[in-house]
Amino acid sequence: MSDVSANAVGFVRTETVPQSAPPSNAAGPAKWVKDNLFAGVGNSILTILAFIAIYLILAKIMPWILNGVWDAPTLSACREVLDGATGGCFAVISERWNQLLFGFKYPSDLYWRPALAFAMLFLAAAPVLFFDLPRKLLVFTGLYPFIAFWLIWGGPVYYPIMALVGFVVAFKVFERLEKQNFALALGAGVLGAAIVWYLGTMIGPDDAARKAGSLFAAGLEPVPSRDLGGFMLNMMLGVTCVSLSLPLGIALALGRQSSMPFIKYICVIFIEFIRGVPLITLLFVASVMLSYFFPPGTGVDLFIRVVIMITLFSAAYIAEVIRGGLAALPKGQYEAADSLGLNYAQATRLIILPQALKISIPGIVNIAVGLFKDTTLVSVISMFDIVGMIRGPILASTDWNGVYWELFSFAAVLFFVVCYGISQYSQWLERRLATDHR
């Protein structure tokens, strides 16, 4: 380096200082402990207090878990085994696991059917969640709702196939007419599906055909909706409602931004109304009053009524989260899309939504997790989901009256696993989609 004396004003660097490693006292585990745990007197005291608190909590909980009894027919038998020592009566879980998972009425020889549907859920969700997978796997995702319906509810295979045909007809009609007029195509598609379903139900296999065992009525042993229960019911409600409310929420958010006042105010009123009402009242409406809105005699299933209500409820929230994402996009993105000649549908699908949804991921996941946990509210309208099972048939039985901690901890663990999974997935998704390099 050139010589720089105090009174020399001019300076010219003639060589570059090479990069070098930081000094050794700036890294290593000992430094980490000193910096983060014992940085000063106050910090050290807090660290020690925290360790004591953790010890006290674990000292209570660990014996309860480790000394737990997993094999006993009743609570009193379990208490005899424990003989006054601390320990959980987890025997209730090993005794009643089937009721906790599937409800108390689902035929036990048919447990494989919902279990299979659950396993297939991962296969169906994979191409949606991990979009690097081959797109052809989406065919299975499209078929999955019909397969899962048939596996869980059983009945003639005719019905899910007819439902699928209805959707295919609707899509084909829509595709054909879309170029002419979007609204016309949508209406014609819905009409097409309605006709298929109406005719399909008319000529469907009746009880006589079922009894005669004709091939037309071939299928699985049917299970009515009221026999569904346990954690299976929470999963079914959670998965169905999340996957339905996301598209509905997007539509509502876009509708709220629409320049057509009629559409705009329908969306605004819907969102504001639903957000102003507690979910529990909507569920009571579903269980008691919603049947007034359907044609007499149709007797729409309680499960479907509950799905409709939870979906509408969370769609309104998701719509507001996505509106936040849309508002965060710079106006320049709309202008750039416009200036290239993209029409509204193209600009929305290719430019606006991918960015707005990415911004909205944390909010959407927040609502999805909340929705999943809110499915336990159906226990108050006498559906036997996992909480309904615990509070109803299990705690009411003389064998297990009084085992609260073990049962509710089990339910908490199940919910935690799913919710933590969703949260981890969303964090992965945010990292995967981070292309802005800010």
Partner: protein, 255 residues
């Protein structure tokens, strides 16, 4: 070079604006604008901020709506008919002050998006076209990066290439270098000069007076929503007529 370029101007009318007026609410932003642009002409619009030059450019491809008068682009009258608007937009390229690249798409995807979806070009062909224009703006090696990884000057060149991929007959530039560091302004201006030499019809709203001298065949000075003065660059810079123009030029050329 400038002389040679000026000879390419044809008699064909590219843009014809007649008695055009625009209001923001009750604020009269553009007043009685009359402007005819010949095919191959390169026009630089200058003026103080708030003079309406940016709004004028944005009216030409209907990013802003005008309330009175007419704008005709390539013989298509700009009206509220969406089909006409889309037709004009696909023939008119536009570059923005803040580039407005799509941050969630790679550079190549930014370039191929409009050809694939608007022009229905097959993907492979669109990619070849995109690489051709990326080479033209001298950054083919950045094709698979994302906009956030590029410098400002590179982003603006990508934005120019993105517009060119639609093979427009007219290019609009809305302060293309105002958000750039001095070192990057040159690379963008070089790209624009190259375009001008090829005979592209260009309207450019800019503060780069050197660029105006070198490239423009007409310089327009706007103030308070009106065209105050227009002339050939030599005359405009050396012998401005209106006192408002003289003041403006003395302020921006004075240092």
């Amino acid at each position: 070079m400038a002389e040679q370029a000026k000879m390419q101007v044809s008699d064909e009318v590219a843009i014809s604006i007649q008695n055009m007026n625009k209001w923001y609410g009750t604020f009269h932003v553009l007043r009685d604008i009359d402007l005819t642009v010949q095919r191959g002409e390169r026009i630089v619009i200058c003026g103080p901020s708030g003079s309406g030059k940016s709004t004028l450019i944005r009216c030409i491809n209907a990013l802003e709506e005008h309330q009175k008068g007419s704008i005709e682009v390539d013989g298509t009258l700009l009206s509220s008919d969406l089909k006409n608007i889309d037709k004009i937009r696909s023939e008119v390229g536009m570059c923005f002050q803040h580039f407005n690249l799509f941050p969630h798409l790679s550079i190549l995807e930014n370039l191929t998006l409009a050809p694939i979806w608007v022009r229905k070009t097959p993907k492979k062909e669109a990619e070849e076209l995109a690489m051709h224009y990326l080479e033209k703006v001298k950054i083919p090696d950045q094709a698979n990066k994302y906009p956030g990884q590029l410098s400002g000057g590179q982003q603006q060149r990508v934005a120019i290439a993105r517009s060119l991929c639609m093979q427009p007959r007219i290019m609009l530039f809305d302060e293309p270098t105002s958000a750039l560091d001095p070192e990057m302004i040159k690379e963008v201006l070089d790209t624009m000069i190259e375009l001008a030499e090829e005979g592209m019809t260009m309207l450019c709203d800019t503060h780069e007076m050197g660029f105006a001298r070198q490239v423009a065949n007409r310089v327009i000075f706007m103030d308070e929503g009106q065209i105050v003065e227009q002339n050939e660059p030599e005359e405009f810079f050396n012998n401005p007529q209106s006192p408002r123009t003289q003041l403006f030029l003395s302020q921006i050329l004075g240092h």
